[in-house]
């Protein structure tokens, strides 16, 4: 789906590996690659930011679009689980500010130099980050109430 010539250009300039929706980059190159996409390749429209928890690492994805060609490109970086932090791109794309807050809120992945990194959907005092696989959906009392005891009479 992503434009092959842009993926090729990213592969020559950065150590990028392509995947189905775009390219995967080392976390250190995220900011420069997105700046290049915005300024040199015309990807000026911010589509979405999201995260995925894999077995070994978190993945942070940003999708950007070139509105002239209509092409959407995903940029993926892997974030280690023991030190989950990655550069914020909120200064490159203003739209990333809330999306990164959401990733922080739900996955606990931090963003360096984010202008305002606070929880966005969950309450301030909420324990944990609910979209992590280790966060069980069970409540202490279980999904269903215990069956009513048989009537003794």
């Amino acid at each position: 789906m992503p434009a092959p010539e842009v993926v090729a250009a990213l592969r020559t300039r950065f150590s990028a590996t392509p995947f189905a929706l775009g390219v995967e980059l080392p976390a250190t190159e995220l900011l420069t690659a997105l700046r290049a996409l915005r300024d040199a390749h015309g990807y000026r429209y911010y589509v979405l930011g999201t995260g995925t928890e894999r077995e070994t690492a978190f993945e942070v994805l940003h999708a950007v679009r070139n509105l002239e060609s209509g092409d959407t490109l995903f940029v993926k970086v892997a974030v280690p689980k023991d030190a989950p932090e990655v550069d914020s791109i909120a200064f490159v794309y203003a739209g990333a500010e809330w999306q990164e807050r959401e990733i922080w809120d739900l996955f606990g992945v931090g963003f360096k130099a984010h202008p305002d990194l606070r929880r966005i959907l969950m309450p301030d005092d909420y324990p944990g980050h609910p979209l992590r696989k280790s966060f069980a959906m069970d409540t202490p009392w279980g999904y269903r109430p215990a069956p009513a005891p048989e009537d003794a009479s």
Binding site: L21, Y45, L48, L67, T72, F74, Y93, R119, L121, P123
Partner: protein, 383 residues
């Protein structure tokens, strides 16, 4: 949800922090805005969201693919079909599941009717927001809901439910359109179209309405792109991007229609774009009824149990044009019967984010006009 500390207190000629919402009639749901005011001018706006967060994305990882489509219809509750439409598109793309042509046309048919009904709710509530100048506030609202009620009755007759139609299935559609319903659709389109001049005379034709919306909440082209606002809000800022045209799905590649855009970027431009889109959608439902291809509406083999639907591993992004803009689903599959991760790219979330940029500098009286013109649905924002 965090609003952060509010340390600002009123001082003489100083700054005032005004809390608006979450229970406020013109926030269209449970949105809270902390407005920092200097006199009548807003100098900072801090939206606080999350009051309607239901953890839909977490729930998605615990249900099978076939169980999930109805869940998303509860997200954007003014246009439920668009949500499940985007979801089934993503799953079909990842699983390479074919959809019969008639089902694709029917999906577009229901989506367009819901676009009209959603835009009518938006117009009515915008009238409420702008208040007394528009015939006592509720006049426009009542006229819009009268038309919307007819559409909901029609959808009830077609699908059994007024609202959450459950129309989209992975690999097809659930309900068919017969000749009698096709005639009813045409009659309904004519009656809604006939009511539009009346609605316009109460809103766009009213000089007070124009005064209250012109040059209010202006979004420049660059800001629109950087923040990623979408739908009518993007098109009112001079960018004619419509998912139906730019990345056609369902039947839209075969259907002729115009992409409406304006260049002013203010609340009035957004109003004009949506009003014109009602006409475009009414034209679309007519051409769908005229050109509806024959054939089956569902072609997948019947399943013994829903766990049999295993989707190949991979990543996919599919989007539709909901009444509020690009509504996308990013699904990561590990090859099992449940998604590994599912992200909903909600249009209202992105459109609401822009208020932190456009409210400062404006008057406090324009806050509700700006919010109303963005048409956020909080179920869609908070998911």
């Amino acid at each position: 949800m965090s609003g952060g500390p509010i340390e600002v207190v009123e001082r003489e000629f100083g700054e005032l922090a005004l809390n608006m919402g979450p229970q406020h009639p013109s926030t269209h749901g449970v949105l809270r805005l902390i407005l920092h005011l200097s006199g009548e001018t807003v100098i900072k706006a801090v939206p606080v969201i999350g009051y309607l967060h239901r953890g839909v994305e977490k729930l998605s990882e615990h249900l099978t693919y076939d169980q999930l489509a109805p869940v998303y219809e509860r997200d954007d509750y003014l246009a439920p079909t668009a949500n499940s439409n985007a979801y089934v598109l993503a799953v079909e793309r990842l699983g390479a599941i074919a959809v019969p042509r008639r089902a694709q046309w029917l999906r577009a048919f229901v989506s367009e009717w819901q676009r009209v009904s959603s835009h009518l709710v938006w117009l009515g509530t915008l009238g409420l927001d702008l208040g007394g100048a528009l015939g006592g506030g509720t006049t426009l609202y009542m006229y819009c809901f009268r038309e919307r009620e007819k559409i909901l009755d029609f959808l009830e007759e077609l699908t059994g439910t007024r609202f959450h139609t459950n129309f989209n299935l992975i690999g097809g559609a659930r309900y068919d359109l017969d000749a009698a319903m096709a005639d009813k659709s045409n009659a309904l389109a004519a009656s809604v179209e006939a009511a539009l001049p009346e609605l316009w005379s109460m809103s766009g034709g009213n000089p007070i309405f124009s005064e209250r919306t012109r040059s209010v909440g202006t979004i420049s082209k660059d800001l629109a792109m950087g923040v990623g606002v979408t739908g009518p809000t993007l098109r009112a800022s001079g960018i004619a991007y419509d998912v139906r045209k730019a990345a056609p799905y369902d039947a839209y590649a075969e259907l002729p229609f115009d992409v409406i855009s304006r260049t002013a970027g203010d609340a009035e431009a957004r109003f004009q774009v949506r009003m014109d889109e009602i006409r475009v959608s009414l034209k679309l439902v007519r051409s769908i009824v005229d050109g509806l291809p024959a054939g089956p509406i569902f072609a997948r083999k019947p399943l013994k149990n829903p766990k049999a639907t295993k989707i190949p591993s991979g990543e996919v992004y599919a989007a539709v044009e909901s009444p509020r803009g690009e509504l996308g689903f990013h699904i990561v599959s590990d090859g099992s019967a449940k998604p590994l991760r599912l992200k909903i790219n909600a249009p209202s979330f992105k459109n609401l984010q822009v208020v932190t940029h456009i409210l400062p500098g404006g008057l406090v009286a324009d806050v509700v006009a700006t919010l109303g013109s963005l048409d956020p649905v909080l179920g869609d924002v908070d998911r």
